[in-house]
């Protein structure tokens, strides 16, 4: 009786908690690695850095498991920093740069499969807000990652500089401005 009603359930609970604890630890590890990998992939100009980070981290943190990790990135906080800038001579620059400040919310979602199967299998989710992009040349080649391509006035101004840069390449074609080759961002 004692075995059936106390020991077995207690040990089952302990095992489950242990499994969940390990899974939570793995989720944190996945979040940390995904964040860092995402940054590296974004700087390198990878087309879909979130997907790339997901593949890299899944293989190292969850070997042998099929699709346990999902990495989602949301870039909706572009103007957060501009509001914090002091008034004064930096105001114009503040508006200009607010759009390029950029923040990304990286959320990882890790599946869990409890060993007993008696509770739901909602994934474990953890999220982290990170700063914007560094704006490497290759990163800016990808429009979706281009910090100068924001939609508001400031972003438009910076985009203008970017376009002037790219446009000048064509205008300057016979005058040294156009490289003549493809950008080497592999």
């Amino acid at each position: 009786m004692l075995l059936v009603f106390l020991i077995i359930p207690l040990w089952g609970l302990i095992f489950t908690m242990g499994y969940l604890g390990i899974r939570v630890q793995q989720t944190h590890e996945a979040l940390s690695l995904s964040t860092y990998t995402f940054l590296l992939e974004r700087e390198a100009g990878t087309d879909n850095p979130a997907s790339s980070a997901q593949g890299t981290v899944s293989g190292s943190v969850f070997p042998g498991e099929t699709s346990p990790l999902q990495v989602h990135v949301n870039d909706t906080e572009a103007n957060a920093v501009a509001d914090q800038m002091p008034e004064g001579e930096l105001q114009t620059l503040q508006k200009l740069m607010g759009s390029v400040s950029g923040r990304s919310n990286i959320a990882v979602s890790v599946t869990r499969e409890d060993p007993i199967g008696d509770f739901d299998t909602n994934p474990i989710r953890r999220a982290m807000v990170i700063g914007g992009a560094t704006g490497t040349y290759c990163q800016m080649q990808d429009e979706s990652l281009n910090p100068f391509a924001a939609g508001d006035v400031g972003g438009a101004a910076m985009a203008l500089i970017g376009i002037a840069g790219m446009g000048s390449d064509y205008i300057l074609a016979p005058f040294g401005g156009l490289s003549g080759g493809e950008a080497k961002c592999d």
């Binding site: 944190h28 590296l40 920093v81 910090p147």
Partner: protein, 621 residues
């Protein structure tokens, strides 16, 4: 009753089970709470990492933006060089085309096909020349063209980025930490930890001591940043454009005769001239260093090279005037040494000297030419190297000097028979008295006069004089391939001579404004490129998760965490500030280690020893 109860053993297990269950449940709750605390601690470290990265990201972004603007300016400068060189080529090509057309016309009908070809070229050339001229006038004309205004605008934008992006990073870092649930946080760069507060928030770039010549390497040889954009390795935008123009060679493509006349080198000559005007060596890139031709004897002596002097000889016919001296044999002299009395209007004197009056500079000078116009037979007699290397080697040639029939050898500088002249900035010849007295073009003049008696009709005689001139001219002050610090010092000296201000831009030397200069990395910027973040997380505080229930029973509260992290801004490709590849990464907390070392040196060993375990934990993380 009591005895009966003692003997009654029923329900004993239930009591034990209840007690054990309570203990177990308590332990389980404690474990869960502890697990929560550990999870929060891990999260806090993650937040510290992204906080340090956020601060570093703004610096990386600033450096990338400045690199982008530097590259744009290098391209625009290249454009001005190519357009101006092409524009200057056009009049020459026009003349050559006209000559070719005249020749073809003369031999018509045999040369009719060639004539058609030339007429076709003329049709192509005119709109090209007109387009280039319009472009030069409105876009690339030095200092006033649109391109120059854009370049100055981009340089100002770089200034603004350099002043502000670091500061935005200081604000962004705690904001990011707060969004991730931290109670408080801050991030600073390494120089602040070192106690340097003068440049807080500024990116480690500067235009101080920079000159337009700092664009040269990028314009000519490119670099990793240009390779990334698709340029050929070792080829910058200016060289790329020069190659295109050489390939295009629009005249010689259709006209083999013109190709023989050398259209490519006409363009190349103007290209070199334009590059030299920017302070760049006009030659093709030399990856091992840069060949520099020195222009003064002090430079010759500083770099231990060998100057070259040339001896020219010249003479007049027999003249009746026997009063001429050295000053009468130089074409243009300052008015205060005018030997013709100083009364001539400049126009009259210019006309007498056969010079177009429009070419005569301001009237503080007047032409002479009394003797100069009589010189008939100039010839270069010989050249002589004069070493500047070694003690006592001044760069002046050793020349003969005869006294009472005895032959001596003297340094030209000390030779009593030679008078030292120089060619001033305005092209006038003066007695050597300025800092150009040892610059190329300076010369030493000696006049030897011989006389004869000539019998005239009627039995009288007159004396005639023949003047023979020896002039030693400093042709060049040596050349040397410079690299590294030596090259840098050379350009700094050049810039100083050209009038660089502390604000960065250098005078164009043409009185028409300023050239742009690039923002380059300051020396030893490492600490400015490292960011140290401290993040606090207090359970139970407002907006934070609750403390674990057992925390009040322990003297050391484990519910407030402090995490450290350090991020670095780096560029593995090149730190030349023309390579837009600045990135961020986490690294060991070396800044904290150094700070604690200093704390130990200041007698704060207990703090250092306590914190060293924290550092170990952080670095292992």
């Amino acid at each position: 009753m009591i005895r009966r109860l003692h003997k009654d053993e029923s329900a004993q297990v239930s009591f034990l089970a209840l007690a054990a269950s309570l203990v177990l449940v308590g332990l389980m709750a404690m474990i869960i709470n502890t697990s929560d605390v550990v999870r929060h601690r891990i999260h806090n470290q993650e937040v510290a990492d992204v906080t340090a990265l956020a601060a570093a990201t703004w610096s990386a972004r600033g450096l990338n933006t400045i690199a982008m603007l530097n590259v744009l300016n290098a391209k625009l400068l290249s454009m001005t060089v190519i357009v101006n060189a092409a524009n200057r080529t056009m009049p020459v090509t026009r003349k050559i085309l006209a000559l070719s057309t005249a020749a073809a016309t003369a031999c018509t009908p045999f040369c009719t096909p060639w004539l058609f070809l030339l007429e076709g070229q003329a049709i192509l050339l005119e709109p090209l020349a007109a387009g280039l001229q319009a472009m030069e006038q409105s876009v690339t004309r030095n200092c006033s063209g649109v391109a120059w205004k854009v370049m100055k605008g981009l340089q100002k934008a770089s200034d603004a980025v350099g002043q502000t992006f670091g500061r935005i990073g200081y604000l962004e870092a705690p904001a990011i930490a707060a969004r991730n649930g931290a109670s408080s946080a801050f991030a600073v760069d390494g120089s602040m930890l070192e106690g340097s507060l003068t440049e807080v928030g500024k990116l480690p770039v500067s235009t101080t001591d920079r000159t337009p010549a700092d664009f040269c390497a990028a314009m000519k040889s490119g670099g990793p940043g240009f390779v990334m954009q698709g340029y050929t390795d070792g080829e910058g935008p200016a060289e790329h454009g020069r190659g295109i123009w050489s390939d295009l060679d629009p005249i010689s493509v259709l006209n083999p005769a013109f190709a023989t006349l050398g259209s490519p080198w006409i363009f190349d000559g103007f290209y070199s001239s334009e590059m030299t005007r920017l302070g760049c060596d006009g030659s093709t890139p030399d990856k091992e260093g840069q060949k520099v031709e020195f222009s003064t004897l002090p430079q010759c002596r500083e770099h231990d090279v060998t100057a070259t002097w040339a001896l020219y000889e010249d003479e007049t016919d027999w003249l009746v005037d026997g009063s001429l001296d050295e000053y009468d044999f130089i074409a243009w002299v300052p008015r205060d040494v005018d030997l013709e009395g100083g009364g001539d209007a400049i126009e009259t004197a210019a006309a007498a000297a056969g010079v177009d009056v429009d070419d005569v500079p301001p009237v503080t000078h007047t032409p002479t030419g009394v003797g100069a116009r009589e010189l008939m037979r100039q010839q270069r007699k010989r050249t002589m190297p004069a070493s500047c290397a070694g003690r006592g080697r001044t760069g002046y040639p050793i020349v003969e000097h005869t006294v009472a029939g005895d032959l001596f050898f003297l340094s030209l500088r000390d030779h009593p028979e030679f008078t030292h002249f120089e060619v001033g900035e305005t092209g006038f010849h003066e007695g050597a008295s300025t800092d150009r007295s040892e610059a190329t073009g300076t010369y030493f003049l000696r006049v030897n006069k011989t006389e004869r008696e000539v019998a005239l009709e009627g039995g009288s005689t007159r004396t005639e004089y023949k003047y023979r001139l020896d002039s030693w001219v400093l042709v060049d002050a040596g050349e040397k391939t410079l690299e590294g610090d030596e090259l840098k010092e050379y350009y700094e000296e050049q810039a100083e001579r050209e009038g660089v201000t502390d604000d960065g831009p250098v005078s164009s030397g043409e009185g028409c404004g300023t050239f742009p200069v690039p923002h380059l990395l300051v020396e030893e910027p490492e600490d400015k490129l490292r960011f140290f973040a401290v993040v606090n997380h207090g359970l139970g505080e407002s907006g934070q998760p609750p403390k674990p229930f057992w925390s009040n029973y322990f003297s050391v509260s484990p519910t407030t965490f402090t995490s450290f992290s350090q991020a670095q801004v780096y560029n593995d490709l090149s730190t030349d500030m023309f390579t837009q590849d600045w990135r961020v990464r986490l690294e060991r907390v070396t800044l904290l280690e150094r700070a604690l070392e200093r704390a130990g040196e200041l007698g704060l060993g207990s703090i250092a020893s306590t914190a060293s375990s924290v550092i170990t934990t952080v670095n292992n993380h």
